[in-house]
């Protein structure tokens, strides 16, 4: 224990003797002449039977006053203990709330441990210190911003909930850097199990300390679960991976629509996976794979996974164009899709967007555009969505660098194009693939409709001959017809659901995994449901009045190898301005200060109250006597 202001102890040395002197002065008793001390002597003789206590009682006020003085002087000296913690005045706490923090190897979950640690850090914040709490994982939250109100900070920390998401610290660290650069004596505390992605190019202008949580790594997880149509009905494919460092054997239970269907024993070596393929009846809508509970598994959250089937409720797609064999072949391979071909001359479209959610316009732009989402291929003329300015010969393709969902698993580097339409898209569009002379593939949403434009025809490119083509078509259809495509029914927790709906639909209801039914928000032709943080099956139903006209199922799963790898790390590499490349763990140097003057002051206050009571003891006894006397009096 050390003192911040040791000189304050001198005050005790000064005031202490004064109190004692005053007390000695006070001890000079008032003199009073009585007729005879005869009776008093008699009494004192009785009392002196318990003399030691009497002597102490005579001095108890002095002792209490000296105790108060000692406590106050001690408190003024501001004693503190060195603890694991922080020393800065502007503290930024980043709490990882990703799925891996749900591991139960700490006291409670890792998140609980991290919260506790965070509260301990808040408690040792020096006076006048401020703190910001950032919850990283999924969408970043800042529940408390630059606050010096410890209660608010504690509440903010307690309010952080686990998210079924990956842990990307980039956003949080960027914000922390911005906050730290404003104030001197800033310090960033990262509370995580270390299974987090950290941007390499960020340099935090403050000391970053890493407080690791978690101790075990044993974890088995359902790493993949799909349900696909097959000749015999449906095929379920489940994969279980061992992310731990020890071989494990577990039982995998398969539930069909909530009923236990079969169980399989799996023996999996560390780092390996085991898979199971099961034929299930066509009528099954929801499949759940569940690993039986085990003490050896530190992370129970990833032991369950769901897959859903929308068989029998497939989406209809119509193609308007001269006929395109490549396109039709690619579409035919997609599950739950019915394709209708319509001649180029079609001008009126009677079906609603609920009935036909996607129209592919292959080299055609009708005067009256059909309702629903649109996929333009080599549009010959301008529309309300884009302008066509001419033709481009032999454009080179430049796919966007970001990870666009449309380009998942797709490589366009070997694609050659002979002729493409020169496009100028509206502000709604994002360019997915750029090219010389104009964008090659754009996508976006306009007035509630999703629109994708491919600027070149399949006949003017070698794209249809490549592996990328069916994948690209699958991605495009998944984007334009949500709820179709190979894994379209899989969503990540937290990913919002958006369905195109037309005006004839009166209500869109979402049944959540816990059974709760929620009305989705309607906004410019779309029904949006964003509260998908809970993993499990979601059922979206569209109603026209009381009539059910469409039902689509989704399964929210976090199949994330990085989150299921729960082995805690003791070091986290975060570049900092102080030159350290590693965020330190605090075991080596204890810089935190735990001040205890508040407790001392509180105790001093309590002793003060006791002293007052002792001083007034005869008054209290008098009151008590009166009370007793009154109680013993009969009620008149």
């Amino acid at each position: 224990m050390s003192f911040l202001a040791p000189l304050a102890l001198l005050s005790a040395a000064v005031i202490g003797p004064i109190i004692v002197a005053m007390y000695l002065l006070k001890l000079r008793r008032e003199e009073r002449t009585v007729s005879s001390t005869f009776l008093w002597k008699k009494m004192v003789r009785d009392v002196e039977a318990n003399a030691p206590w009497q002597k102490l009682r005579r001095n108890i006020l002095l002792l209490l006053q000296l105790l108060i003085l000692a406590l106050l002087a001690f408190a003024l000296a501001r004693p503190f203990f060195r603890t694991t913690g922080i020393a800065g005045k502007n503290l930024i706490v980043i709490i990882d709330r990703s799925e891996s923090m749900g591991a139960t190897d700490a006291n409670g979950t890792r998140l609980d441990a991290a919260k506790q640690q965070a509260i301990a850090l808040i408690d040792q914040l020096p006076d006048g210190g401020r703190a910001t709490v950032i919850a990283a994982g999924g969408q970043m939250d800042v529940p408390a911003s630059s606050s010096s109100d410890r209660r608010q900070l504690r509440d903010a920390i307690q309010g952080i909930q686990l998210r079924y998401s990956g842990s990307d610290l980039a956003q949080a660290l960027t914000l922390a850097s911005a906050l730290a650069s404003h104030e001197a004596e800033s310090e960033v505390a990262v509370l995580s199990d270390g299974n987090a992605s950290v941007p390499a190019d960020l340099q935090v202008p403050a000391t970053v300390r890493f407080f690791p949580v978690g101790s075990r790594d044993a974890n088995l997880a359902v790493s993949a679960l799909t349900l696909e149509s097959s000749a015999a009905g449906q095929t379920m494919f489940a994969q279980v991976s061992n992310y731990g460092t020890a071989e494990a054997s577990r039982r995998l239970d398969i539930y069909l629509d909530g009923e236990l269907f079969n169980a399989y024993s799996l023996q999996i070596k560390p780092g390996q996976s085991a898979s199971q393929t099961v034929e299930v009846p066509a009528a099954v809508h929801t499949v759940e794979a569940r690993l039986d509970a085990s003490d050896e598994d530190a992370q129970p959250l990833d032991d369950r996974a769901w897959a859903v089937s929308n068989a029998g409720e497939g989406s209809r797609i119509r193609i308007v164009g001269p006929g395109n064999r490549f396109l039709e072949t690619a579409l035919a391979r997609l599950p739950n899709i019915q394709v209708t071909r319509m001649p180029t001359s079609t001008t009126t479209f009677t079906e609603t967007a609920a009935q036909v959610p996607l129209t592919i316009l292959d080299g055609v732009v009708p005067a009256q555009l059909p309702p629903g989402n649109l996929f333009f291929i080599a549009p010959p003329r301008s529309t309300a969505f884009f302008s066509v300015t001419g033709q481009v010969e032999f454009p080179a393709l430049h796919p966007s660098t970001g990870e666009d969902a449309l380009l998942r698993y797709v490589t366009l580097s070997d694609v050659h194009v002979r002729r493409a339409t020169a496009l100028v898209p509206g502000a709604w569009a994002r360019t997915v693939v750029d090219g010389d002379g104009g964008p090659m593939l754009v996508a976006g949403e306009y007035e509630g409709r999703r629109i994708v434009v491919l600027s070149f025809s399949t006949h003017n490119s070698d794209l249809p001959l490549q592996v990328a083509f069916p994948l690209l078509i699958s991605n495009v259809v998944s984007y334009l017809v949500p709820g179709s495509g190979a894994d379209a029914a899989q969503i990540a927790p937290g990913q919002p659901l958006a369905l195109p709906v037309d005006d004839s639909i009166t209500a869109v209801r979402v049944t959540k995994p816990d059974g709760g039914v929620v009305e989705a928000v309607r906004e410019s032709g779309q029904a949006i449901f964003a509260d998908t943080t809970q993993p499990g099956p979601y059922v979206v139903e569209q109603y026209q009045g009381q009539k059910l006209v469409g039902r689509i199922r989704y399964a929210a799963n976090l199949f994330s190898a990085s989150e299921s790898t729960i082995a805690p790390k003791s070091q986290l590499a975060i570049a900092q301005a102080s030159g350290l490349q590693q965020a330190e763990t605090q075991e080596q140097n204890r810089v935190g200060r735990q001040e205890i003057w508040r407790w001392l002051a509180a105790v001093a206050l309590a002793v003060l109250v006791i002293e007052w009571l002792v001083y007034q003891r005869s008054g209290i006894a008098y009151l008590r006597e009166r009370l007793l006397r009154r109680r013993s009096q009969p009620i008149r």
């Binding site: 008032e30 003199e31 009585v34 004192v44 009785d46 005869s618």
Partner: protein, 296 residues
Amino acid sequence: MTTTTAPPLFDAAFVRKLDRLALLTRHAMLGETQGERRSPRRGSSVEFADFRPYTVGDDIRQIDWNLYARMERFFLKLFVAEEELSIHLLVDNSASMAWGDPDKLHFARQAAGAFGYIALSSLDRVTVTAFANEGGRVLPSVRGKRGAFPLFDFLQKLPVGRGGSFAEACRRYARTARNPGPLLLCSDLMDPQWEEGLRALTTRPFEITVIHTLAPQEIEPTLEGDFRLLDAEGGEPIEITADLETLRRYQEGLRQWRGEIESFCSGRGIAYIFADTAIPIEEFVLTHMRRRGAIR
């Protein structure tokens, strides 16, 4: 040693009330000269008492000639003697008595005065003794209503003495007093040897009445805080911390002490009358003393 110029003991109206009262004695007592009280002796009153045979030397005037006529033997006719009584008033005028509000000594003077006056009005002889050290006074003896003036004067001028041993004073009085008769003792008995004192008085055939005089401040002290209590008679000072608990103990001790005195007295035929000086003397004499059978 101060001579008190105290206020007059009583007003005239009270004295008139005292006239109607008389001392009660539980049995006949010997006196010296003729008075108004029955004496165990035979004397010359009009009340017949007994006969006895004549012996040589007897006064022949007392021979009952009627009886001689009948019996032919000489008998003396004896009458009840009526003699005066000697009333002993013992007033404790030690320093401890000159304390309290109302003053204990003043109260004792008044009580002794009233008692003495009643005795004088029935032609009894009254002796007053104040027995403090350095303040000891004796009013030898007065008789008849004329004696009331010297009695009141003596009591009024009675000075406050110093301390002194109560027991020693009592012992001395018991040794020296003549003609034991009714004895009134006015004291606060604040002496560790009060018991010895009373016992010494009982060795003579006094008919003792103790008026135990205490001031209200002694009965219910109102002290609060730390005090050094000084003894008015120069005893050892004592330090106390007065709180409710201490006062409760004090009163407990007082109650116990009074109980001891009372049972001691009742065991020895002593009339014990407790006197709170807050009670007006008139009420005390007319009500309390009467109720206790000391006067009629």
